[in-house]
Amino acid sequence: MKRFGKFWWDFIVGDDWRVAVGILLAFGLTALLATTSVPAWWVLPLAVAAVLWLSLRRVAR
């Protein structure tokens, strides 16, 4: 069971769990903004850039 869980964790989340968490938060913010009159299309691209850069910087220290 533990190995089964680890397989799905590695398959979906991968090396850096912070990336998956960041993307989840960005989806939440996008969905929230989409219910208002403020355009929400820019949130996800910017979040991807930020999350990716932060993840890369953790390795490249």
């Binding site: 090396d15 996008t30 929400a40 999350v51 890369l56 490249a60």
Partner: protein
């Protein structure tokens, strides 16, 4: 696996994994078509995004020198030695090591491909068209292999990984945002813009990390 442990158990393992994959696809394909399109795009977009970012992250780290580029010749030699040294256990008349390794390899890699094909097909409303595209890719790769006749080490693996990462991330952003309720400016016409953005930031990150690498070494 076939070269080191023999072809029979290896091919039985690969065949069993192909059957398991076919069963998963047959069950999952029709199920996907009954899910509301917004929910499907949100889930598919999210998964494509996390897969894409995993690919892109590794490709950027390799391209900028922070992670070693995969040496296919060394990987092949190491895995061949591991396979040759593994103890031989017979189960159901099969070399169990060869069976399980080839079963696992084909199932896991196939699952990722099947997931991408099914989700691309279902979000765009045509699973058969996506399956034809995947089939054409298989034929193309086999033909290229026959024509070029070069070992795997000659394939620009990191460039391919970079391209796959960029494409998955782009479609992940696009569909994920649509699933979350976003109306893209210009509709589908904004997709090349998202692609351009992902390419630009990725190349920018490679350049920035290369500079960091030089400074770290100096």
């Amino acid at each position: 696996m076939g070269l080191t442990r023999g072809w029979r158990s290896t091919l039985v393992g690969a065949g069993a994994a192909t059957l398991a994959l076919a069963a998963i696809v047959a069950a999952l394909g029709p199920a996907l078509t009954v899910i509301p399109i917004e929910v499907l795009r949100l889930v598919v977009g999210g998964l494509l995004l996390v897969f894409g970012l995993q690919w892109l992250r590794k490709a950027i780290l390799r391209a900028s020198g922070w992670r070693a580029v995969r040496d296919e010749d060394a990987v092949f030699a190491r895995e061949r030695a591991e396979a040759a040294n593994a103890p031989r256990v017979e189960r159901a008349g099969l070399d169990w090591y060869a069976f399980t390794i080839s079963f696992k390899g084909v199932l896991l890699e196939g699952l990722e491909v099947a997931f991408i094909v099914l989700t691309f097909g279902s979000t765009q409303g045509s699973i058969p068209l996506a399956a034809v595209g995947a089939g054409a890719a298989v034929v193309l790769v086999v033909l290229a292999g026959i024509v070029v006749r070069e070992p795997l080490s000659r394939v620009p693996e990191n460039t391919l990984a970079f391209a796959v990462g960029v494409m998955l991330t782009t479609f992940g952003i696009f569909w994920g945002a649509e699933g979350a309720g976003v109306d893209w400016p210009g509709g589908d016409a904004s997709l090349p813009g998202v692609l351009g953005f992902v390419v630009l930031i990725s190349l920018g990150f490679v350049t920035a990390l290369r500079r960091r690498r030089k400074l770290a070494i100096a």
